[in-house]
């Protein structure tokens, strides 16, 4: 079974948003509101029920790699196309009580909208804030990893539309190696703060969407250690048990004294 993945490279993204438009055209996603944000040129603002690819625009007072000009006022404008991470251990999948969220044969996490009952448990269980309920529909929607296209042997719409190959689609381990090689090349060329975002250590257990970024992941709305809620189950039940025992002791004590 091959594991499909995205490797999205912030250093070659040009911010054209062709991935966002291609995604919406293929998947028939409605518009997400005509709201001017004032956040650079980014009016999409975040991933949501009606935005499955989101190109963020970061304006930073930092040096862009080997930049030599105007070092007193360094400035860089970074673009990165964010997407559902299709976690190895998915918080949304574990939280779903109806079985609407499933693991597919390509390793991705799919919300089956014909089964979803709109409870919203997945929304709060996603460590990346990806899954979202669409209003007024009420059901949860997110990136399908173009499961229909993949089943037909095609590349997901976003990767297909990307004019700079910033979004690469392929086999998970191959892209993981490609990301490490890309970062090594970038660092060799003077981008000292280049790194791969690939949270293997955290409880999400690695993701099927990795990113090549400059600087810290927090700036890209990527948590440095994304944890799934179920890791708290043991301590939560233990707390509940202790509370119950203490309450029972208090009730008993009320009769005794």
């Amino acid at each position: 079974m091959t594991k499909a993945a995205f490797l999205t490279d912030a250093t070659i993204c040009i911010g054209c948003k062709a991935c966002e438009v291609a995604c919406k055209e293929w998947n028939e996603v409605p518009d997400d509101g005509m709201i001017w944000s004032g956040f650079s040129y980014d009016n999409t603002q975040a991933l949501g029920a009606s935005t499955w690819r989101h190109v963020m625009f970061l304006e930073q007072p930092a040096v862009a790699g080997p930049q030599q000009v105007d070092m007193e006022n360094p400035f860089r404008w970074i673009f990165l196309s964010d997407v559902c991470k299709h976690c190895g251990n998915a918080g949304c999948l574990e939280a779903c009580p109806t079985g609407a969220i499933v693991r597919t044969n390509v390793g991705s996490v799919l919300v089956q909208s014909d089964v979803c009952n709109g409870c919203g448990y997945c929304v709060v269980s996603c460590p990346f804030g990806v899954v979202d309920k669409r209003h007024p529909d009420g059901r949860a929607f997110k990136c399908t990893f173009c499961y229909d296209r993949q089943s037909a042997g095609m590349t997901p719409a976003c990767a297909k539309a990307c004019p700079t190959q910033s979004i690469r689609f392929g086999e998970l381990e191959e892209l993981r190696e490609a990301g490490v090689a890309r970062v090594a090349e970038l660092q060799h060329r003077g981008y000292a703060d280049a790194q791969v975002y690939d949270p293997l250590e955290a409880s999400v257990g690695g993701t099927h969407a990795m990113f090549v970024i400059l600087g810290q992941p927090e700036a890209y709305n990527l948590p440095p250690a994304p944890e799934i809620p179920t890791i708290c189950l043991k301590s939560a039940w233990m707390s509940a048990l202790i509370s119950a025992l203490v309450l029972a002791a208090i009730v008993c004590a009320a009769f005794l004294f």
């Binding site: 518009d31 005509m34 001017w36 304006e59």
Partner: protein
């Protein structure tokens, strides 16, 4: 078959797309992508060889005449009739490519020579020079006695007044431009939800310095006024836009995309209301990249009294 002429040759065989190839084979990039029409990387590369066909420089040689094979060869695809020898002399009455001698590399010019200036066809020239735009905050540093293009066509009339250079009423430089998401003035793209949502409203980009000077909040409405008209836009203050230091002057620039209008899913004022009808003498296109403007805080309707100071017809143009 190809969808468009610029792609003819990009698919030489089934399943091969030369534009997608990423294996550079030499320093000219052959093997990485593809250049229409024959993957030639340097235009007029016959000029890299002497009139007799031998390279000017052994180190930088590009194409040369192979006497044994009787053809042009080299590191790049020759931009020359491959079998035309360097000593070819056109016969009397020859036409087209046959009329160009073997030592004339500039094959798109009728005489085959490279040109330092344009001998025919332009209404100005022949040599390139510098003039300031029709409206400029500075005087022409190159020719103080000649501010703007002397053969530019002046179309000043009521409703199309020009500012002077400089103009105390209009201290800032205004430039208009496009965004990726919209097509020209937005007539098609404003009606498509997937494009309109990405750039839903008109804004103007100003430097953080100018925003601080006017105490403009990020996103606040401002009114931009030129000698012709006034529009309202959200202020987007960003360090991408920086004031220009020209001589002793600090000149602020204001950038305005021109994609909005009065219909579609998203609407907004038209940047083209600000620009001057002027005519560059050759292609007769108006100047849209360097104009003079001023900035008023607040929406256009709240600036009616002030706008009356700028133009006699401002009443008719306010909302």
């Amino acid at each position: 078959m190809c969808g468009f002429w610029i792609y003819s040759g990009v698919f030489p065989s089934e399943g091969r797309n030369r534009a997608n190839e990423r294996e550079p084979k030499d320093e000219y990039g052959h093997g990485w992508g593809w250049a229409w029409p024959a993957d030639r990387r340097v235009i007029y590369n016959r000029a890299s060889a002497r009139p007799d066909g031998s390279p000017w420089s052994e180190r930088k040689k590009l194409v040369w005449w192979d006497e044994a094979a009787k053809k042009w060869t080299g590191k790049d695809v020759p931009d020359f009739t491959a079998t035309k020898p360097p000593n070819y002399v056109p016969p009397p009455g020859a036409e087209g490519d046959a009329a160009l001698a073997g030592d004339k590399p500039y094959i798109l010019h009728a005489d085959g020579f490279g040109w330092l200036w344009v001998p025919v066809g332009l209404n100005d020239g022949p040599l390139p020079t510098h003039y300031e735009p029709l409206e400029s905050p500075i005087s022409n540093p190159m020719y103080p006695q000649r501010q703007a293009n002397p053969v530019g066509l002046n179309r000043a009339r009521t409703g199309n007044e020009y500012a002077t250079s400089p103009d105390a009423r209009f201290p800032y430089v205004l430039t208009t431009y496009r965004l990726t998401e919209h097509h020209t003035a937005g007539g098609m793209s404003r009606t498509l939800s997937h494009l309109a949502e990405l750039q839903p409203e008109l804004f103007c980009e100003i430097s953080t310095e100018l925003a601080n000077e006017w105490k403009i909040e990020h996103g606040e409405w401002v009114t931009l006024v030129t000698a012709r008209g006034a529009i309202e836009a959200h202020a987007l203050s960003t360090s991408r836009i920086r004031p220009l230091k020209i001589g002793d002057q600090l000149v602020h620039q204001i950038g305005v995309p021109f994609h909005w209008g009065y219909n579609g899913l998203v609407k907004g004022d038209m940047a083209n209301d600000l620009i001057a009808i002027s005519e560059e003498p050759n292609v007769r296109i108006m100047e849209t990249k360097g104009l003079l403007c001023n900035l008023l805080v607040g929406r256009r309707a709240n600036n009616v009294a002030k706008l009356k100071e700028y133009h006699s017809i401002s009443e008719g143009k306010t909302a």
